[in-house]
């Protein structure tokens, strides 16, 4: 995309952000409110020699992008909560095979078919724990259309750097809302792209990690004779169904993320330095919270917002460092609330919940934190 200003929805920004970040392969299945991402990719990818395919379902979509990822493509799919429920099977495969992929979830009202066109934030635990097994995953969540564009670069870079699926959350509010987006010049964007590590010769143990706990990734078609499996495997990639191999592999899959959590964490600390009340929020909902914080500040109240951009791995140090009353404003019956409690260390934590369909009004939030 030419550098300049555009008026885009979150869905379009997500697609354009992905393309800017080097994504050239997309497989997906239509679902509200993410379908416009697929439509944008169908239009744009072939223009630049990329590949778009509409698959028979979400299960096939994620399988296809994992296959494409092994050829070296930066590959993405997009869906909403019901689609993530289906994709979770192969999220586990991507974890186990260490295939970099980006999966967008435009969250809608939930559970089940819920509120297809309206915002929800019920998939935060699903994003983290949705597939079976003990694993770490990266989950990012922007809150503006500009950020939806920009943060895609981090999503792809992190996926490639750590060889892990990155779940990119947006929500129905962001997906369909239009805002002005600045697209920087191509060279500037290009400079930000981090390519995955590839082995410089055919390795005898392709799943042997470097010091960063991430093994360089051999690509299909280059004589590596890769073998990758969802079974527990040794560093050769071969199935090894023993407790010892399990301990070694699964521990590393978790630790390769935990080891780098400080690089992965992105948190906006908004007026929190002196705050005695901190509202934790993210995504579409945080727009109302910012408003509430601003009103409270106008009235001399020391209120701030911690906006989690990285939801997982949970940026716990940003909770631990404050002494304040915490409020967690989220569109569900309490998810990240429990995580904040885990690290609040004696500070009060209160949930400001709404079941979705709309974000809180600033006044609702102000009321919950004790009025202005």
């Amino acid at each position: 995309m030419k550098s300049g200003y555009y008026f885009w929805s979150g869905d379009i920004a997500a697609a354009e952000g992905a393309i800017a970040a080097g994504c050239r392969f997309y497989a997906g299945y239509p679902i509200t409110p993410s379908s416009e991402i697929a439509e944008r990719m169908a239009l744009r990818l072939p223009q630049i020699g990329g590949k778009f395919i509409q698959m028979e379902d979400e299960i096939g979509s994620i399988a296809a992008i994992i296959g494409a990822s092994w050829t070296g493509e930066r590959a993405m799919t997009a869906t909403s909560g019901p689609g993530i429920s289906l994709m979770n099977e192969n999220i586990g495969l991507a974890i186990m095979m260490e295939a970099p992929i980006v999966v967008v979830n435009a969250m809608r009202g939930d559970p089940s078919t819920g509120l297809p066109t309206l915002i929800g934030q019920g998939d935060l635990m699903q994003a983290r724990y949705g597939s079976h097994g003990s694993y770490e995953i990266i989950v990012l969540y922007p809150n503006s259309i500009q950020e939806t564009f920009d943060l895609m670069m981090d999503a792809f870079n992190m996926a490639e750097k750590y060889r892990v699926p990155v779940m990119y959350l947006i929500d129905a509010l962001l997906a369909h809302m239009f805002e002005r987006v600045y697209v920087p010049p191509e060279e500037e964007i290009e400079r930000k792209i981090i390519r995955r590590k590839v082995p410089n010769k055919v390795p005898s143990r392709p799943f042997e990690p470097d010091d960063d706990l991430v093994p360089p990734m051999p690509l299909i078609g280059q004589g590596h004779k890769i073998h990758a499996t969802g079974l527990t495997h040794d560093e050769r990639g071969y199935p090894n169904l023993t407790p010892k191999a399990q301990e070694k592999l699964v521990r590393r899959l978790n630790e390769k993320i935990i080891k780098h959590e400080r690089e992965i964490w992105k948190v906006e600390e908004y007026k929190t330095e002196d705050a005695d009340k901190i509202i934790v929020s993210f995504g579409g909902e945080s727009r109302a919270v910012r408003n509430a914080v601003n009103s409270a500040r106008k009235n001399g109240k020391k209120v701030g917002m911690l906006r989690l951009i990285t939801l997982w791995p949970f940026p716990h140090e940003f909770i631990k460092k404050y002494t304040a009353d915490f409020y967690v404003a989220e569109l569900n019956y309490g998810q990240m609330y429990h995580k904040v409690r885990e690290y609040a260390d004696g500070n009060n934590v209160k949930l400001i919940a709404k079941m979705g369909g709309e974000i809180h009004t600033p006044n609702e939030i102000l009321k919950e934190i004790g009025g202005v």
């Binding site: 590949k51 399988a63 994992i66 296959g67 299909i220 004779k225 073998h227 499996t229």
Partner: protein, 280 residues
């Protein structure tokens, strides 16, 4: 060395021999099918570095673990979409799905149907042993009506897929069925299919003496092989009814469809790219 000797040693190179003996039971037909496949690859002179084998889950799913080429052992039923991702991203590669009947037609049925319809250029070798072997011999989407399995103790009330007919109805350009008794025909069929494009399906009726044969009075590997030997009829123009598999009855084998020059998905997408670039 003679051609046959060459092939024999070539097969060794295409196997991860350090992993042999493989996991399959004595007399399991999957090994015979794999052998035929590797020989066909050698005869076709496919660069092993440009060959990708993708399997799903189950006994046949383990095949990917033994071939010494880029190989992927994916999740249950998902070998085809995984393979499509590879093929679509890198059309110059030869992509083969080697998997079992339960994997491809029950849990993976939706992917099979749609991939065949779109005519992705992949070869699917479907080993049909009438059962779920790895999990202990439950009935599957290909178990003949009346057959005994661990989940059909009174005989199977279910009706099996007519796999070649299904593939033909979806427009697959190459559709064949053999049994593991037909070692030469099977190899030639794979050889031929490897030289074609589009969605190619070869169903291989294979013996699972351990959990299927045992419950259906074919306890030994040889007795299952004898059943194939005595009951197979080659008929390339078989009708729908003839292609149906009935419990302990005739097995009609052959090349049921050979159609050239049907554009593949990947070719049609090249046209999409051409149009998109011109539209700017």
């Amino acid at each position: 060395m003679s051609l046959m000797e060459d092939l024999r040693y070539g097969v060794e190179d295409l196997l991860r021999t350090e992993r042999l003996p493989h996991v399959w039971c004595p007399g399991c037909g999957i090994g015979i099918t794999l052998n035929a496949f590797l020989r066909a690859v050698l005869r076709r002179k496919i660069d092993p570095n440009k060959l990708v084998v993708v399997s799903g889950i189950g006994c046949t799913g383990r095949a990917a673990g033994y071939v010494n080429v880029d190989s992927f052992h994916t999740t249950h039923g998902r070998a085809i979409p995984f393979a499509i991702g590879i093929k679509f991203a890198r059309p110059e590669l030869t992509v083969v799905v080697f998997s079992g009947d339960g994997d491809l037609f029950a849990i993976g049925g939706n992917h099979f149907v749609n991939a065949a319809r779109r005519n992705h250029s992949i070869l699917v070798i479907a080993v049909n042993n009438f059962t779920y072997g790895m999990t202990g011999g439950q009935h599957g989407p290909t178990t003949p009506t009346g057959a005994y399995t661990t989940t059909t103790p009174y005989g199977n009330p279910d009706r099996p897929f007519n796999i070649p007919h299904l593939a033909i109805s979806l427009g697959a350009p190459y559709v064949a069925r053999w049994t593991t008794y037909h070692v030469n025909q099977l190899q030639n069929s794979i050889y031929k299919a490897l030289g074609m494009k589009g969605f190619r399906l070869i169903e291989v009726i294979s013996q699972c003496p351990t959990v299927y044969g045992r419950r259906n009075s074919m306890r030994t590997p040889l007795s299952m092989m004898e059943y194939f030997e005595k009951n197979s009829i080659v008929k390339n123009d078989a009708s729908f009814e003839e292609m149906e598999l009935k419990y302990n009855e005739k097995i009609v084998v052959g090349e049921f469809r050979v159609a050239k020059d049907i554009p593949t998905y990947e070719e049609r997408y090249d046209e999409v790219i051409r149009r998109a670039k011109n539209a700017d």
